[in-house]
Symmetry: C2
Subunit: 478 residues, 2 copies
């Protein structure tokens, strides 16, 4: 069997792919000593949680190590230790939160100067509920990120009170199935990270760790996930490992949670990241390369290059820059996305037209990029009035515009008048009207400025990440 | 009762209106001597038709004077004499046409040098059927246009074989109702002519003479037609003088033919001319003026003025000029209209945008005017590919565009690539693509050129009518 693609014959491609997997695992799979150290740290911190609870006379049913550290599916260098404290359900959620935070705080605020690990920093964080987030270190200089999260030990996932209560079930499920498949998970995670679709946070809208593990469990290997994705995945496809049955939704990918038939594990995945994964899978299988896992470093775009690209494209660019929005990413990004859509809609309704838009943010700035196909419009614009046979409105319209510079005319039975356009440039128009549109709740009152074309570089010239974002936007090979 | 309008109080307005009507009738109503002359001519020509038929031994049931000359609803100076020869139905349509033409030809080709009227010119014309069209003159220098049309004398309008067979019924119906209302018809016709909506030919798509007569019969007077139009006419309204009942159609105005319940007398009326009449009626009643009947002469636009208007508007203009299309107006105008729509659609699909369009024609040129809001686009344009999960098409798209200057990206789950636009200027694009679009059957192969902005004046600078057309298009007061 021959294939017309440029990647060579299937046999050779398969060999090449397996050589690449080996190389990838060499880089991302922790060695024995790293595994041992993380395991020691996990035991250390679990014991400290038990101790603290006892000292405070707070009853904890169980302390559970969850997440990739528990399942052997973590990537070298990534030392995330998630500890869940399981409390008995009869108490109130508020009480559980209080007790959980108290235990967590005691764990992180003790003096560990005589011990192998010591706490470097901690803070109270809020997801659906408050929990303690801390960083520990050891003598060798390794760092360990710890989340100490309280949850209820419910009997059944259908009886959970909040999403965190579901985590122990996920953990048990994966542990029961993943043995021997850990390397496959590592490959899939690294592949997704490499093509930019790993992470289910709202900034990214990609694949979560739990989702990658389920895909491996379902298909058996990394290569089989790629093959299935590249051949048979369609928008709206359903993966139902435990045969729960019917699930209806408009999500691009539906992976029914094995521990909860009502939940789509892939609900956070955007249509474009779903497509990017299919695209990546097909391209890798066609022409395997380690670049998919470890993409080459990209240089930020420089001012001259930016200008010459714009000349070449013939488009104009507007950048709406919100200064230092004081929001966490999970709140900022959905608002930024919605605001970009609102800006596009606003411009298009006025007759400007958009080639493409994008968003970008870091601590100091949140940016909406708008690449315009039409950035300038004539001085006149059509103002469409009532049908001439709407006698009352027609009469008002006639009086109102009787002195119109170019008179009233009739089109499709309606009065029309050419009125003066207040803003002929898209930038001026956006500057005047953006506030009136549906920006997010928090961005609504955030100060913004608008920059055109290379003027954006006055603000973000020295920001390397922004330069990389621009290069990626133009998808130009370096 | 007071009115907020600027035309003064109703009493005064009504007086003013009636003074205007008097003045209009003074100008358009033929005096006794003109009426006598036309009547003499009509009898002369009817006798000649009878004579010719007898000479040729062709049996004619009746010769009928129809149209405005028969009904006393003709405007001074307009000497149109329509004669219908009614034949007995058992013969074939082809035979009737042959006999009709033979009689007509004999009438117009005789030597009348000893008589009061003589034939100046004639030709065979084709409407639904062939007929003879001639011009006669008298010693005083008056001209008389004659149509000699053969038709069948059917018993009932439901049994007509062609539209001409219906005309005798129209004539009898109007004659039975119009007595005493002739002046009202004259006012309505002249008003419609003044505001540019009189004439049901396809160039104009306005009100026919028969339609104006029916409106007067229905509402009783010119002023009542205006009042009803300005107060209660709506799109889709039905006037059913003989209470025939149901009629369904999307026409803006439905006037059920008193002699044929299946026919809308106003079928040729466009939505915009319907609206223009309502508009004119409302404005006249609000502020009566003789200008509605006899609009002031308009000067053609000059080159400087044209340029300064374009600068003021900020739009660009394209003129598609077909040279000397060898078509009668009833064929040319529908095709020109359709071609204009096709051009607009073509430009808009490409991303150019149209402010307004119009058509114009005379013997030498047929013109599509396109006023552009956006006449230039960037060098790149989006080329949208298949959804990434359409695996076969997706793979083809990837191979085809793998070397695309700006790479392939994903939007809404589809592959997209920015390709180079071949024509960035609307004029160039239209020049290259107009032929591919659905121009009319005859315009399809007609040579055309495209002119931009004032360049059109190189072709049509000396054409007064075109200058007036442009001024009217801009609706600029002179």
């Amino acid at each position: 069997m021959t294939s017309p693609s440029h990647g060579g014959d299937p046999e050779f491609k398969s060999q090449r792919a397996h050589a690449i997997f080996k190389e990838v695992l060499k880089r991302v799979k922790p060695d024995e000593s790293e595994v041992r150290r993380l395991s020691r740290f996990a035991h250390f911190i679990m014991k400290k949680v038990h101790d603290a609870a006892e000292e405070l006379s707070i009853d904890i049913e169980d302390v559970m190590l969850v997440g990739s550290a528990a399942r052997g599916t973590w990537v070298s260098g990534e030392h995330d230790v998630d500890l869940f404290m399981l409390f008995e359900p009869p108490q109130m959620r508020a009480e559980l939160e209080l007790n959980g935070i108290e235990v967590g705080k005691r764990v992180v605020s003790k003096d560990y100067s005589d011990e192998e690990f010591n706490c470097i920093a901690y803070e109270k964080e809020y997801a659906e509920h408050p929990y303690i987030k801390a960083v520990f270190g050891d003598a060798a200089g390794s760092r360990y990120a710890v989340d100490i999260v309280p949850c209820f030990a419910v009997q059944d996932p259908s009886r959970i009170e909040s999403a965190v209560d579901r985590t122990p079930f996920h953990n048990r499920y994966i542990l029961s199935k993943i043995k021997g498949l850990e390397d496959e998970v590592l490959l899939l995670k690294q592949f997704m990270r490499g093509i930019g679709v790993y992470g289910s946070e709202l900034r990214l809208q990609g694949f979560s760790g739990y989702l990658t593990e389920l895909l491996i469990i379902n298909y058996g290997s990394f290569l089989d996930v790629l093959k299935e994705a590249s051949i048979s995945w369609k928008k709206g496809m359903i993966i139902d490992i435990e045969s729960h049955g019917n699930y209806e939704d408009n999500d691009p990918l539906i992976v029914i949670d094995p521990v909860d038939p009502m939940r789509n594990v892939a609900a956070a995945l955007s249509i474009d990241n779903f497509a990017r994964f299919i695209d990546g899978a097909a391209r890798f299988l066609d022409d395997p390369s380690i670049d998919f896992f470890f993409p080459p470093q990209v240089e930020g775009i420089c001012s001259d290059e930016f200008c010459s690209i714009l000349t070449e494209r013939g488009t104009r660019m507007l950048f709406v820059v919100f200064d230092a929005p004081p929001l966490v990413e999970d709140i900022l990004f959905p608002q930024l996305r919605r605001s970009a859509e609102a800006a596009v809609e606003l411009l298009q309704r006025e007759g400007f037209s958009i080639h493409r838009e994008a968003i970008w943010a870091e601590k100091e700035h949140a940016v909406i990029l708008l690449e315009l196909e039409v950035s300038e419009l004539p001085r006149i614009k059509k103002h469409i009035g009532p049908p001439v046979w709407n006698h009352k409105h027609a009469s008002k319209f006639r009086s109102k515009y009787q002195d119109a510079r170019f008179g009233i005319y009739i089109e499709d039975g309606r009065y029309v008048v050419d009125i003066e356009r207040r803003y002929t440039y898209a930038g001026d128009f956006l500057d005047a009207k953006l506030r009136e549109t549906s920006l997010g709740k928090n961005l609504k009152n955030a100060p913004f400025r608008i920059f055109e074309d290379e003027a954006i570089l006055n603000v973000l010239r020295s920001n390397k990440e922004f330069g990389i974002f621009l290069r990626r936007y133009f998808a130009k090979k370096c």
